[in-house]
């Protein structure tokens, strides 16, 4: 039975759900102008962010044990909210240029956000499933938003077919787990020690994890990532690679760490190694920055997997920090790419914006070049930026739980990654601009500019004061 006091705890969820519905109505009644719905949804996300921030230390299980609100879920939730907020800021200019600034975009994105939050707060496989599907279905739509363009169509189709296929596996896993334990409630499942090591449960768990590994982009299930990110509208790719990953990781990790599957550590570390290898090695041969960022997203899935492998309380905190840094740097980089793409002549389809076109960006618009340089260096894990501390905490957790060889591999591979990030930076700073647009500054609208600045500020702030994050959520690192 629902207790009305519980509703107080899920105010952020209610805000997002209600604003998604209201923005749908605003969108349809304020015909052409996208402004009202834009402002409204931006404010809604901000309100949800503030409300979540006010009660970060709550630890309760509510609504017939369907939702679990604790500092970890709040942390992941706030990171997802932040990512969507920055995406919203950058979306308007980009979409207007492409002629797809529909009010529905904001509504769908809010629904996706609702799905993510439900999933992160979920304490029941049913809630996990509903949240995951709400998120995925919205992502399919957002990927295919540019419906006149072949690439967008194609990536939406691929994403949809693979995503639905993997949902089948996830669901089969859930059904087996339910059969083995007799519960759908995650707390109760984790409490049934006798059933938890039966073959049926383990097969179910494996299928369940496959579903999530697909969403995160762990090795054998990563093939969709580059295609989908390249075809989708750039701001949407940025959002999917950050918020989508945060949601999937935030749901899976607490479960896995409570289960503490120590005997499968080897399997997990092999998957982590392969994911990092694949992401970093294939990225070396890329010439399109959007695709390069997609491969770097696979590589970072590998770093997250290193965190999952160490299976300690410390590693959740490390992953949470890494994801926060990741939102700023990855989303920031995607937004810079989106601004840059808009400045190039608009073809029938997405042109391949290769590295060559970034030549001399530092002379054309120094601010963009500085921002992109910071984001890429942070992604590579160079010290004064947030990305470094993210990797540092994850590898630290891995070393603490005797996975020294794995962290050595991870560090070596992230040294390799410096090469391809530096290539872009060299093109921007040390080459002369060429082509018909050479010499002109890249036009940046105020809101995109603000979004880039927020990401830049985040990358620098958490790079210089990483402790801010841990003191805010009262996570103890020792």
């Amino acid at each position: 039975m629902i207790n009305f006091n519980d509703l107080k705890e899920i105010i952020p969820l209610i805000i997002i759900a209600a604003s998604a519905l209201i923005s749908l109505l605003i969108a349809v009644y304020s015909k052409k102008s996208g402004m009202p719905v834009y402002v409204f949804s931006l404010l809604a996300v901000l309100a949800a962010l503030i409300f979540t921030g006010l009660n970060v230390t709550k630890d309760v299980i509510i609504i017939s044990e369907m939702l679990r609100i604790n500092p970890y879920s709040n942390a992941f939730c706030m990171i997802a909210l932040l990512s969507v907020f920055i995406t919203f800021m950058a979306s308007k200019d980009y979409l207007e240029k492409l002629g797809i600034n529909f009010g529905e975009y904001y509504s769908i994105l809010l629904f996706a956000l609702f799905g993510m939050m439900t999933m992160i707060y979920a304490n029941d496989m049913l809630t996990v499933f509903i949240g995951l599907e709400t998120m995925s279905i919205c992502f399919y739509v957002l990927t295919g938003l540019l419906r006149k363009r072949m690439k967008s169509n194609e990536s939406a189709m691929k994403y949809f077919l693979l995503g639905a296929f993997m949902t089948g596996f996830l669901l089969y896993g859930m059904s087996l787990i339910y059969g083995a334990t007799g519960y759908t409630n995650i707390t109760k499942i984790l409490a049934t020690y006798t059933a938890i090591r039966t073959p049926m449960f383990l097969i179910g768990l494996a299928l369940f994890m496959i579903g999530f590994f697909f969403k995160i982009g762990i090795f054998p299930f990563q093939m969709w990532i580059p295609d989908v990110y390249e075809g989708a509208p750039t701001v949407v790719s940025g959002m999917m690679s950050t918020a989508g990953k945060v949601a999937a990781v935030g749901t899976l990790i607490p479960v896995l760490i409570t289960l503490n599957l120590v005997e499968y550590k080897m399997l997990f570390s092999i998957l982590a190694t392969l994911t990092m290898l694949y992401g970093n090695i294939v990225a070396l041969s890329q010439s399109n920055l959007k695709r390069l960022l997609a491969y770097s997203s696979i590589a970072s899935a590998g770093y997250i997997m290193v965190g999952i492998t160490s299976m300690s309380d410390l590693s959740i905190k490390g992953i949470a920090f890494y994801l926060l840094a990741y939102v700023f740097m990855q989303l920031g980089a995607f937004i810079v790419v989106s601004v840059f793409e808009n400045s190039t002549p608009d073809g029938k389809d997405f042109r391949n914006v290769t590295f060559d076109e970034y030549k001399g960006l530092a002379k054309r618009s120094p601010v963009l070049a500085i921002a992109l340089t910071v984001f890429l260096l942070s992604l590579a894990g160079i010290p004064p930026f947030a990305g470094f501390w993210g990797k540092y905490y994850i590898f630290y957790a891995a070393i603490k739980s005797d996975l020294i060889w794995l962290s050595v591999i991870a560090i070596l591979l992230s040294v390799i990654s410096v090469y391809y990030y530096l290539k872009v930076i060299v093109y921007m700073w040390f080459k002369e601009p060429e082509g018909e647009t050479s010499g002109e500054a890249v036009p940046v609208k105020a809101l995109s500019y603000a979004a880039i600045m927020v990401s830049l500020a985040g990358t620098l702030l958490f790079g210089l004061y990483p402790d801010l994050f841990f003191t805010f959520f009262k996570f103890l690192i020792k």
Binding site: M1, I2, L21, L24, L25, V28, Y29
Partner: protein
């Protein structure tokens, strides 16, 4: 004594046999005279017009989608209706919220004009010559 599957088997044999006898006896006993008119496609007794593979109007698709959404919602309404008396006011409020969410979707579809079906606009023949008008 038959097992559960035995019962199902007997049931299957009887039902298949029943249909088979009806169909086969019809084939054997009934008279058959082929003619051109009889073999043609039946379309309300008229001569068939045009190709079978025509493009359907796109509106059918939108209407079908809206139908699916409101069709599936019934699945939640039935169990609710069964326990409605025991659950009382709370269940009523919850279901109202649920239906409200669906109605927002409906309003959206309505405001977008997806439910608007063009009325047939008969083509009135235009006459240039005045002579008929005066005769009427």
């Amino acid at each position: 004594m038959l097992s559960d599957f035995g019962q199902v088997l007997i049931f299957m044999i009887i039902s298949i046999g029943f249909v088979a006898i009806a169909v086969i006896s019809g084939k054997i006993v009934g008279p058959r005279f082929a003619s051109k008119g009889k073999d043609s496609t039946y379309e309300c007794g008229e001569d068939t017009v045009g190709d079978t593979w025509v493009r359907f109007n796109f509106r059918y698709y939108v209407v079908a989608l809206i139908f699916i959404i409101f069709d599936v919602e019934i699945v939640f309404l039935f169990p609710w209706a069964v326990v409605f008396k025991e659950m009382g006011l709370l269940a009523f409020i919850e279901m109202t919220i649920f239906l409200f969410i669906l109605i927002v979707g409906f309003i959206y579809a309505y405001a977008k004009g997806d439910l608007y079906w063009d009325k047939p606009q008969p083509i009135v023949p235009k006459l240039d010559r005045q002579i008929f008008k005066s005769e009427i």
